[in-house]
Amino acid sequence: MTAPSTVRFGVVVFPGSNCDADAHHALSTFPDVDVDYLWHKDTDLKGAEAIVLPGGFSYGDYLRCGAIARFSPIMQSVIEFAEAGGLVLGICNGFQILTEAGLLPGALLRNTGLKFVCRYVNLRVDNAETAFTGACDADEVLRIVVKHNEGNYTADPATLARMKANGQIVLRYVTAAGEQGDSANPNGAVDDIAGVCNQRGNVFGMMPHPENSVEAALAGGAGGRRIFQSMVDTLMAREVAR
């Protein structure tokens, strides 16, 4: 069986999404990726093998972040896709939508500083075995930008314990040296959690923006490339296996 030449991504566009074009652009920097936009009023995933829910302010986030987006027609298809094992990455507002949709455990509260925060953070890869981090080294530190008002991840203690046991806590905010500590945590998230996956490992949400960190020539740097690379590798491997 020869390796497939490309893999197909879909980036969902909700009204108010504002990192949809950045996610599309980031994916287009990978030579083996085809990428399409998916409109929120549609239900057709256009044959996508992986879905990205981008950052932004879907439907203005006037009720609660992600609370309206999860009822959109496209999300019904995304939920079915995820339940069938499809790869779904939620970034920032996308992460919030995934928790609202019940595809990921926990919730995202307002930052403890009560202000929007746009800042470089260091992220330690605490599970490098997932479909979204397989291209990373264990304990590798990625430098990516966060920008959000509601990124303070929380979950009840029992859920957290279960997530830890299952390796669902994938990314944590750390110092450049890889140590946890309050000064490294931009939003007050419990246990410095920056990114989590579901138990099955096919749905992943993260507050930092890997799509703004794929090109070394830009201020955002290239610390986010490995997230997308991991997804591409996973999809390629799946196709080969088929």
């Binding site: 504002n18 302010f57 925060v117 746009c118 830009l218 201020a219 740097g221």
Partner: protein, 765 residues
């Protein structure tokens, strides 16, 4: 509809006796109330520029790169490869003083609409802000609200806020300044202008419903001084809905790119009135508007209220019958209201109808373009002096600890890091940001092209107060110098001219002087003024703000890869001072912070030297000779050195295009670089007063510090030629050490300087 448009009514709406007489003459008798309300807005200072128009003609406005100068929603500049940049700045001072969060938010919303109205995708937001001193609780409230409002609106739109400036002076206490600047990218063949044409075409209103918010915003708020009725003016402030604006951006850009509209205009100050009359006047056509067809938030609105409402997030488009269905389809897809409210006619009249009855009939050109012009006889104010201040040890006792004086300056709110503010802004969205806030200029790449663009904004209000001509000239020179420090070529200016009440001779003098200074500097630097805004009546209880002609400037790169920032990079690099030597006390931050004085006469920029310095600096950067460059501005040479040292170790403070910089190697872990600097011979560097503190903290235009690898010093000197310059020291380990003639002045750890520099949040707690 029973209101009479009497002289008394006209006065209530802010019109003068002369203006009322002229209206009666144009209308052939007493106008209708709707007509009077429309005139009162269109002939307000804010909409008509009646005090400033005769003076603004002084600006250079054209050049080979300029595709659109003043007179449209935004200026447009060719930046190469078929790309152009649309840019504009606008004040939202009075709304922000009344309600800081919504005032600033809608300021961003308004300026962004000016950009996409022309077909450009907004790609940059920047804000120039002025407040009273932070020791006052109300000023902290205003600052917090304004920054929060800018963040709320800009972040939601997904437009990076990549820079700006914030200054604090007592003169802004009762009248803060919020100048919102935006720019967008557009193909040179895709420009849309706000000109109505095609008799029979539809006038289509797109976006939000119309409410009573912002009624009289341009006349009641923007064209009067503040007094004790400030709180009562709150209803005149609009409320922003960035979610709707985001949908408007996408829908309108689709309409323009698919060529589904003949022309487009946003609804800003004076709402439907100004947009419709300006479109008609420019197209020498008439418009029939049916006010009863405008979708309303409140059912019982009167036609005059509908015509002058400043409800946000609305656009007016001229659409042909054939394309109307497609326009409706696009708007429906984005869940936006889309209503045909009138037609283009050949009457050249703006006619307003209300349930079949005509309630206004005004010649569009006379309304939009023939407002009265007023020229106040100017009077040089008494406080202006012609000589620099005498820096005597009695009036200005020398500090014993110069290191402590430096820390004091770094902690001064005007100099201290504004990270607290810009970390609330998304400066990275759209994936073009090359240089984040905190350095001299914001730098962005142009996708799929080696080219790039850069932006700066500058104005030292204190300098403009002491000498409006020199201060305004220096603002232009500094904006250009900031771009040159990043390696960009300055090409165009947008300006926001904030002044007091123009009916006063002293204020008018300040205005005339400042315009002259800007014009001379723009001519010398070849940066035409392509757009801008005049904001008068910035006074409260009769006290005017410092004259504040804010300059926003665009720079371009053929290869954005050459850009550099202000951070020291490697130990052993040589520090070179380019330009003038001695610093001045007059108008300096040092004078204010250490002595509590604002007096004297600020230095005049030598524009010939300025052009030479910037050209050679850019040449050195393009030849990749330099590792950093930084303008010496507030706080003089010592603060510029300290900022270079502090930036060397700050996480996220600099781009890391070069993987060998310490911040890239260590992930910005905070390893400081310092410097050892010898100011040189006291007789050269201390100026007339013979004081080392002036050499350190005194200010002068046309000065830049650069760092260069030792082996590239020779090639750099070859580029600099006979430009005044001097090697002053080296980048070293973790301390900043300054000597004069080898004698120590101070040594301070950079970590301490950093603590002082980042102390703004403590003042806000």
């Amino acid at each position: 509809m029973s209101q009479r448009a009497t002289f008394e009514a006209a006065v209530t709406l802010g019109l003068t006796a002369d203006e009322y007489a002229r209206i009666c003459e144009i209308q052939g008798g007493e106008p209708t109330y709707v007509e009077l309300a429309i005139y009162s807005l269109m002939w307000s200072e804010h909409c008509s520029y009646k005090h400033s128009r005769p003076i603004l003609g002084r600006f250079p406005t054209s050049g080979p790169r300029i595709l659109q100068g003043p007179g449209e929603n935004a200026g447009i500049i060719d930046v190469g490869d078929g790309w152009a940049v649309a840019m504009k700045v606008e004040s939202h001072n009075h709304p922000s003083a009344v309600e800081p969060f919504q005032g600033a938010a809608t300021g961003v919303g308004g300026i962004v609409r000016d950009i996409f109205t022309m077909g450009a995708r907004p790609c940059v937001s920047m804000d120039s802000l002025r407040f009273g001193e932070l020791t006052e609780p109300r000023q902290r409230f205003l600052l917090d609200g304004v920054v929060g409002g800018i963040a709320h609106y800009g972040n939601c739109l997904g437009i990076p806020t990549v820079g700006g400036e914030i200054y604090f002076e007592p003169s802004y206490e009762g009248n803060c300044l919020v100048n919102a600047m935006a720019a967008g990218m557009i193909r040179t063949d895709g420009i849309v202008r706000a000109i109505a044409s095609g008799v029979g075409n539809h006038v289509v209103l797109i976006g939000s419903k119309t409410g009573r918010d912002g009624i009289g915003g341009a006349s009641v708020l923007a064209s009067q001084e503040f007094d004790e009725t400030l709180e009562e003016k709150r209803p005149s402030v609009q409320v922003g809905d960035p979610f709707t604006e985001k949908k408007l951006i996408e829908a309108c850009l689709e309409l323009i790119h698919r060529k589904l509209v003949v022309s487009m205009q946003d609804l800003g100050a004076a709402g439907l009135t100004s947009s419709s009359s300006e479109m008609a006047s420019k197209g020498t056509v008439g418009l029939d508007i049916h006010a009863d067809r405008v979708p309303l938030r409140e059912a019982d609105m009167e036609p005059w209220e509908i015509m002058i409402s400043e409800s946000q997030e609305r656009m007016l488009a001229i659409v042909t019958e054939e394309q109307l269905a497609d326009v409706r389809e696009v708007c429906e897809r984005w869940d936006l209201d889309c209503s045909v409210i009138g037609q283009v006619t050949d009457t050249k009249m703006l006619r307003i109808h209300w349930h079949g009855e005509r309630v206004a009939n005004i010649p569009a050109r006379r309304l939009a373009d023939e407002s009265p012009v007023i020229r106040t006889p100017s009077v040089k104010p008494d406080y202006i002096v012609d000589e620099p201040v005498a820096v005597s040890d009695a009036a200005y006792p020398q500090p014993t600890d110069l290191g402590a004086a430096l820390a004091l300056l770094l902690a001064a709110p005007n100099i201290a890091s504004k990270r607290w503010a810009w970390e609330q802004y998304d400066y990275i969205v759209q994936a073009n940001t090359v240089q984040i806030p905190g350095s001299d200029a914001a730098v962005l790449r142009i996708k799929d092209s080696p080219r790039g663009i850069a932006f700066s904004n500058d104005c030292n209000g204190r300098h403009c107060y002491l000498d409006p001509y020199r201060g305004a000239k220096a603002a232009v020179a500094e904006a250009a110098r900031n771009l040159a420090c990043a390696g960009a070529l300055p090409v165009a200016v947008t300006d926001c001219l904030n002044f007091g009440n123009p009916e006063k001779g002293e204020i008018y003098w300040q205005f005339e002087q400042a315009v002259e200074g800007i014009a001379e500097a723009c001519e010398a630097l070849d940066t035409p003024v392509v757009s801008g805004n005049v904001s008068f009546y910035n006074e409260s209880f009769g006290q005017a703000i410092y004259p504040t002609p804010m300059i926003g400037m665009l720079g371009v790169y053929d290869d954005v890869g050459v850009h550099i920032d202000d951070a020291f990079k490697d130990e052993g690099d040589v520090i070179v001072l380019l330009g003038a030597e001695a610093g001045w006390m007059d108008g300096s931050e040092y004078q204010k912070v250490a002595y509590g004085k604002v007096e004297g006469r600020v230095p005049d920029v030598d524009l010939r030297l300025e052009v030479e310095l910037q050209g050679k600096l850019r040449a050195a950067i393009e030849a990749r000779l330099l590792k950093s460059a930084h303008d010496c501005a507030e706080g003089g040479l010592a603060v510029a050195l300290a900022e270079g040292a502090i930036a060397s170790g700050v996480t996220g403070g600099t781009a890391f295009a070069d993987p060998d910089t310490p911040q890239a190697r260590e992930g910005g872990a905070g390893r400081w670089l310092g410097a050892e600097v010898d100011l040189g011979s006291a007789s050269i560097v201390t100026g007339a007063a013979g004081r080392p503190d002036l050499a350190l903290f005194g200010e002068a235009p046309t000065r830049v510090i650069v760092t260069v690898a030792p082996e590239l010093l020779g090639p750099l000197e070859a580029v600099l030629g006979d430009l005044p310059h001097r090697v002053v020291g080296r980048v070293t380990g973790a301390d900043l050490r300054c000597t004069m003639d080898g004698e120590e002045l101070f040594t301070v750890p950079v970590s301490e300087l950093h603590s002082a520099y980042e102390s703004l949040p403590q003042r806000l707690a």
